[in-house]
Amino acid sequence: MSDGRRLVLVVGSGTAAAMAATAIARSLPDIRVVRLDDGEEDALDELLGASRPSVRAFHGALGVDEAEVVERTRASYRLGTRVSGWSDIPYFRGHGMYGESVSGVSFHHLWLRAHSRGTVAPFDSFSISASLASQSRFAAPSSQRESPLAGLDYGLQLNLPAYAQALRSLGRAAGVEEIHGNIAAILQSSDGGCIRALKLADGRELAADLYIDASGHAAGVRRALPWRWIDWNASLPVDRLLFSRPAANQIPPVSDDLVALAAGWRYEARLQDATVHLLAYSSAHETDDQARATFHHAAGTAPRDQPVVLRQGRLEDPWAGNCVAIGSAAVSLEPSAASSLHAVCRHLDRLIACWPGHDSRATPAEIAYFNRRTALGSDRLRDFVQLPYLLNQRPEALWRAAAAGPVSAELARDLALFRERGRLSIHDEDGFERDEWLASLIGLGVIPRRIDPVAAELPMSKIQQRLEAISTGLRQLMETLQ
């Protein structure tokens, strides 16, 4: 099947594979892209379409019109997640800005200073996305600097089957070829370090220059090469998921809900015209039957099917030889922070930038770069997902154990630094915005012992004025939107 062009074989039948094949075909000239569809969708990957602002960057790089995607696939705009049950007070983890800095001092220091003096409105109430979400509204970001909407950012709540279909048709238009069939065997090179070909059940053999495993958690192709999985179960105890069929939706959709329960959490994702309920729990703390009852009680409907088993962790080297695992084949995390589509976008962006050149082979330096940066990004996602587990204030056994769970050295340092003086470290490949970290830390009840000395120099009256100006701006904006 050679016509002189380099051939890439993308394996997978779900959204990640559609994104990969289409992105490669649209970004790189003179590459032949074949997608092998084995008809085996990853149940978990295809369940929730919550995405972060990174999906919009993905669309931008591909030249895909966002409004058209939203319209055609009945997606909706997503401003963030309302998080409750972890600490005393629910909080909103939104995209975009929480208040503007003053004289080079980050807004949260101003808020913390006011907080130490007594009453101040919740941190959330200074966020444009939280304000919009509290009234189930959406407005496009503004390019006018004075408008509160200038600080807005958002992701998309994608309707995955329709989205994947739309991407597949874009891919076909860009030359992606599709083959349907089941893999019977993976043939390796003599040294075992590369894939020579995929043998299909019908006897065909597919050989490619590069194999992209976008098949989800199974990672059947990448698994044929040396495989080292780093398990995160000790830090992130949730290992089972139950979910509902999409049900008709009453609430206009701009945010989703994450609620802690005795042995896990539940999540409500709202699409334009449907809601999906999900329950995540730790099998060590709740039996499947108990979980079904919990689900029924919380969602008002029975879960469909058996629980899905989740193994959280990451692959040490997603790129090995001529095979690259992307998305949940490379990093598997519970869906509490919309990290799964985010990972797909970041992996593809990095892979395309490192794409093997005219002499066909990627150099060890580039493969090491891809793996190193992907690992950094994955670990940072994990740290963010772990934050509510570490800082929860619940009494149940699961939560007490989670609060004492193992922590990465980076997160331990970050927490110590924030607790001491409200400072956030800067990290490479941080998938979350600073304000999301702040909203989470403050929302989970961490109040630093001391504040920034520079913030302490600002007169209290100036800080109060600033806080009031932000509140007034947001209030006026909400009134005009009505």
């Binding site: 970004s27 790189l28 000239p29 003179d30 590459i31 790089a61 080079g104 200073r113 130490s116 003096r117 395309i352 930038a353 490192c354 794409w355 093997p356 050149g357 005219h358 002499d359 990627a362 150099t363 060890p364 330096a365 580039e366 090491a368 770069y369 940066r373 340092r413 110590a416 630094l417 001491e420 003086r421 400072r423 470290s425 800067i426 990290h427 490479d428 941080d430 012992r449 001391r450 504040i451 920034d452 000395p453 520079v454 913030a455 302490a456 120099e457 209290m460």
Partner: protein
């Protein structure tokens, strides 16, 4: 011991800060602390005029502008007072090979497309033998430098003709005096005295005061060691070990000698490779600073002095002065209740004008991490981390200049061109050579445009480029490259001459000597 009082920003007792040393580092620190945290600390600075300062005419990086802005310093006033000129980058002469000349500009080159950096397109054009010229031909600051023109960039920057930044070249001793005036106005108390030692708490080893020659002791809660190479508190009193990098950066001496400026006033610093090191040329309003940074293992001092005297362009304005140093840094910059700022924390040769930048890094971190009376380990560790990462990044970038050379014409160049390099740098170079990728980092100095300038200026050219660059048809690529060069030429054509701009905006008082 009881826990420190909860500090919410109000009613905290003033921290008594003692700054040891009054050079650039000392006065920058004192003025910044006094200006930004006026109610938080009371500051005493101890300096001795007998000691003198190392500053020999300083070339800076654009970050200095943020420092000045934060202190409310008026640019034209400051430039006039320090005899400053503008700086658009650094010119490197004879580095990759004898006869080479390239610039490391403060700004980016060219205009990329579709999320793909310009250098990939440029590399492709070179491989296809299009008349693409040099990489620097696509940086407006390079064109401005070549023609000795200057105009500040438009506020709405970012495009080809506005994607540049600038710094200053100034007289560091005048800068220190300028900041001293600001600091003293803000209440900093200056004590003129020679320091003979420090007293320490017998239990926890904290510094309790510095002892002066006249028998007085200046007590404090927190100490800033700005004593220069001597590292009086951090090195001598606290004994923090020095990490020696001289096997990678063997230059350990500099001979400095100012001279009259001949010819046009360049808006850039030059770094000219010499037999056993390199020579700086920093044009100020009233003179040009020169210095030969060299490795004593490869050249005798007198020979280095003679080479410098022979090389300078105009009449010498002072006798040659020799400075001694060693590349490396203290393992930690903040130990107990003492933070080192400037040369007392480490030294990297001024090849990329990073000395004042490193001072600034320490000050910015101090402003945000200034302790209460009791130092928290968390603050100290964060400070040390921030400073160390900056030193380490700059170190690698400097070593690249020596490593990426084809020169083998003297023992010095033969040594640096073949010496082993840090693994961290080797990995960066391997990644770049493959496909022109510069690994981004969130912390630390020197971003992609800087690495590109030095790599490409010293013949480290990637074998391949980002495959997406193939998406542009050849004729369009050719037109795009031509258009960029024309746009730059046209924009620079309307800019004033550097010397004229300075004369009308910020001329120093008096006449040029």
């Amino acid at each position: 011991m009881s826990a420190p009082a909860h500090s919410n920003g109000d009613d905290v007792p003033r921290l008594r800060v003692v700054v040891v040393g009054g050079g650039t580092a000392g006065w920058m620190t004192a003025s910044a602390l006094a200006h930004v945290l006026p109610t938080r600390c009371s500051i005493v600075l101890v300096e001795s005029e007998a000691i003198g300062i190392v500053g020999v005419g300083e070339a800076t990086l654009p970050h200095i502008r943020a420092f000045n802005e934060r202190l409310g310093i008026d640019e034209s006033n400051f430039m006039a007072a320090t005899c400053a000129t503008y700086k658009l980058g650094i010119e490197f002469v004879d580095w990759g090979r004898i006869g080479d000349r390239y610039m490391h500009p403060f700004g980016s080159s060219g205009r990329g497309a579709g999320g793909v950096g310009f250098h990939h397109f440029w590399n492709r054009a070179c491989q296809l033998e299009l008349p693409a010229g040099q990489f620097g031909d696509y940086a407006i600051s390079v064109a401005m430098s070549r023609q000795c023109r200057f105009a500040p960039p438009a506020r709405q920057g970012g495009d080809l003709t506005t994607a540049y930044n600038y710094a200053y070249q100034f007289d560091a001793s005048l800068f220190a005096s300028y900041l001293r005036r600001i600091a003293e106005k803000q209440g900093v108390q200056r004590i003129e005295a020679r320091i003979v030692g420090a007293s320490q708490d017998a239990v926890n080893g904290n510094i309790t005061g510095v002892k002066l020659e006249d028998g007085r002791t200046i007590a404090g809660d927190f100490f800033i060691d700005a004593s220069g190479f001597r590292s009086l508190l951090l090195g001598e009193t606290l004994g923090e070990p020095f990490e020696d990098w001289s096997h990678w950066l063997p230059c350990d001496r500099a001979v400095a000698m100012p001279c009259r400026t001949e010819g046009a006033l360049s808006p850039f610093t030059s770094s000219i490779a010499m037999d056993a090191g390199w020579r700086w040329r920093i044009p100020l309003q009233h003179r040009t600073g020169n210095g030969y940074v060299h490795a004593s293992a490869f050249i005798e001092e007198q020979k280095a002095i003679d080479s410098l005297v022979a090389a300078v362009e105009g009449q010498p304005l002072a006798n040659p002065r020799v400075l001694r140093f060693k590349a490396g840094r203290r393992q930690r910059s903040w130990v107990r209740n003492c933070a080192a700022v400037g040369l007392s924390s480490g030294f990297l040769e001024p090849l990329e004008s990073t000395s004042i930048y490193l001072i600034q890094v320490a000050i910015t971190a101090l402003l945000e991490l200034l302790p209460d009376k009791e130092v928290s380990d968390v603050d100290r560790d964060e400070f040390n981390d921030l400073v160390a990462v900056e030193y380490d990044r700059i170190r690698d970038f400097l070593i690249l200049h020596y490593h990426a050379t084809r020169r083998r014409d003297t023992p010095f160049w033969n040594y640096v061109g073949t010496m082993p390099i840090p693994d961290s740098l080797a990995a960066k170079i391997a990644l770049f050579r493959a496909r022109g990728r510069v690994e981004p980092y969130a912390r630390g100095l020197f971003l992609e445009p800087s690495w590109l300038a030095v790599y490409l200026g010293q013949h480290v050219v990637p074998r391949d480029y980002d495959r997406r660059a193939d998406g542009m048809p050849l004729d369009r690529l050719d037109i795009a490259l031509r258009r960029m060069r024309v746009e730059i030429d046209q924009a620079v054509e309307h800019m004033p001459d550097h010397a004229d701009y300075i004369a009308s905006y910020c001329a120093m008082a008096g006449e040029r000597p």
